[in-house]
Amino acid sequence: MSEEKKTKKSESSEIERILESSRREFLKKAGLSGAAIITGAAAIYAGFRHEKGKRPENVIKVLTPDNRLVEIPADQVKDYKPGLKVFQTRGRAGLKGKKWVMLIDLSKCRNARKCVTACQAAHHLRPYEYHMNTLIMQESVNMPAYYMPKPCHHCDNPPCVSVCPVDATFKRQDGIVLIDNERCIGCRFCMAACPYSARIFHWQDPQNTEEDKGEIYNIELNVPQKRGTISKCLFSADRLRDGMLPYCVSACPNGVYYFGDENEDAVTNGTTKETVSLKELLKKNGGYQLLTELGTKPRVYYLPPKNRLFEFEEPDSGTQGEKS
């Protein structure tokens, strides 16, 4: 019994001792760590003060979308690459306040086909795939033949858009009809609906499939093209976003194309860069449109092949009149 008591007593004293020592230890440790924390904090604060006082050596001035000029350290600047979502959102909306029109003066066309090749180069098309083609027109035996460039007519009442079952092809506020090949299922209803035969279908792997691998699909350029989807003239929506004339319009050496904004009643010639009133030009030259009786309301105008600058020459068969 007494032994038991003794052990109990010694146990309690042991605990007391431990408690006592730990209190001492604790105070010691607390003191030490406290000092360390204070020194560390002081060091960090000093460093922070130093960094704050130091002006970053490489800062670049950047203009934000809301027109504020801000400074950013050069090493934090990253190149902005719009992603697919951005391309799709802005591509679907279109450019505000614009109403694009194209005018084709048939009297100046000599089948140089520069528009065709420029277009094919921009949209990665093969030589036999056309967004824009120069057709040889002869309405009847007694009628003279002439050349007629024919792009997509970007109708205000587009039959292709009406028939698309997946909302892949659509009309924008600035009048352009585009295709989202990320949505297109390749049913080709739109090809059947288009009275101007403006659309093509990629039956095989498109041109530059290997080179374009990994590129982000740009809805306004339709590049990279995809097998099993539709492609057509886009009025070079990507160039218009940058304030430039379409590829075909600027490539023409003969002043066939005029392009502009109907809201401004002005069209600019791609070759001579002459800007004229659209209404005046149509009125003075007897402008017309194709297949208006279908109610498609096209955005492409033609001037008749009157007083032709170049004689009609029968092109070599098979090459669609390509000239070297």
């Binding site: 205000d156 506020q173 002005a266 002459e274 800007t275």
Partner: protein, 310 residues
């Protein structure tokens, strides 16, 4: 230098006689480049040439120009090289027949750069150039231009005055043109005018001339005679146009492929149609259920008559 020039001219004399008639006005023939042709101007000119001229004229010296009437010709040959700098400048600027005018497509400096490139194919060529003279007509004076809309709002009145420390005089007989800014270029308003004895000129604004959402038009006034007055322009915004409120081409409902744009009557007809078909199907199902219940009841109470159920 002069002697060399004379020898050169004598050598080219027969060529001049042989060439077809595309006459340059006498006063334009002697026009000279405002700068000296160097390797830099040649390189700039080459780029411009490849972009604007190659499609018809081919590569100089390779005779790969296309077959047109009149023939465009190879610029490295005498057909084009016999022209004076001023003549080439005039022909590129004005154009003729199949050759388009590059007046609006290229600036005068661009054209001089192209001539610099073309002359690099002519080993006999020696350049004479003339630094640009600004406002040769009114030396020492700055030209002040003011643009105003008249009271009827159908024309823009231009007033030109030459101001020097000594004197203020109206600029008379100055050829001017008024241009309006459009998306892809400057559109001429009315015809080119000449300032009158008081330095005034009026440009008529056509009916229905389009302005922006507030009717504002960005105008630029330029001299047609750049040699005399220099490449000078006065840019200003005047409320001279018709107010144009751009309308979105997709604001109306149409028979298009998405529900957001579909006409209301289609939405209504379609929804009602779907609802009535489903309603009919459910009606049949409920009736079948009623028959089943009646059948059950009659099975349990064999004595009852159908008429008693009601």
């Amino acid at each position: 230098m002069n002697r060399l020039l004379i020898i050169l001219l004598l050598q080219l004399f027969p060529v001049i006689l042989m060439s077809q008639g595309w006459d340059t006005p006498a006063d334009k023939k002697g026009k000279l480049s405002p700068f000296k042709f160097t390797d830099e101007t040649r390189i700039v000119g080459e780029k411009l040439y490849l972009l604007n001229c190659k499609s018809c004229h081919g590569n100089p010296g390779k005779a790969n120009f296309i077959n047109l009437v009149p023939s465009p010709g190879d610029p490295a040959t005498d057909k084009i090289q016999h022209n004076s700098d001023g003549e080439i400048f005039y022909k590129v600027t004005t154009g003729r027949g199949p050759m388009p005018s590059f007046k609006n497509a290229l600036s005068s400096n661009d054209i001089w750069n192209i001539i610099s490139f073309l002359r690099s194919f002519n080993p006999k060529y020696i350049q004479a150039f003339q630094p640009e003279i600004k406002s040769a007509a009114y030396p020492g004076a700055t030209i002040n231009i003011s643009l105003l809309l008249n009271k009827k709002k159908d024309s823009v009145i231009v007033k030109l005055t030459a101001i020097s420390p000594k004197i203020i005089v109206p600029v008379i007989n100055a050829g001017i043109k008024l241009l309006a800014k459009r998306t892809f270029g400057m559109m001429p308003v009315d015809e080119d005018k000449t300032s009158d004895m008081k330095g005034f000129a009026a440009f008529k604004i056509p009916k229905g001339f389009r302005g922006d959402t507030a009717g504002n038009v960005y105008f630029s006034l330029r001299f047609t005679d750049e040699d005399k007055f220099g490449a000078f322009s006065k840019d200003t915004v005047i409320k001279a146009g018709e107010i144009t409120i751009p309308q979105s081409l997709v604001k109306d409902r149409a028979m298009w492929n998405n529900v957001r744009k579909a006409p209301i009557w289609i939405l209504l007809t379609f929804s009602l149609g779907v609802m009535s078909v489903w309603g009919f199907i459910f009606l049949v199902l409920f009736k079948l259920r009623d028959i089943y219940i009646v059948g059950e009841y009659l099975d349990k109470n064999p004595g009852k008559e159908e008429s008693e159920l009601k």
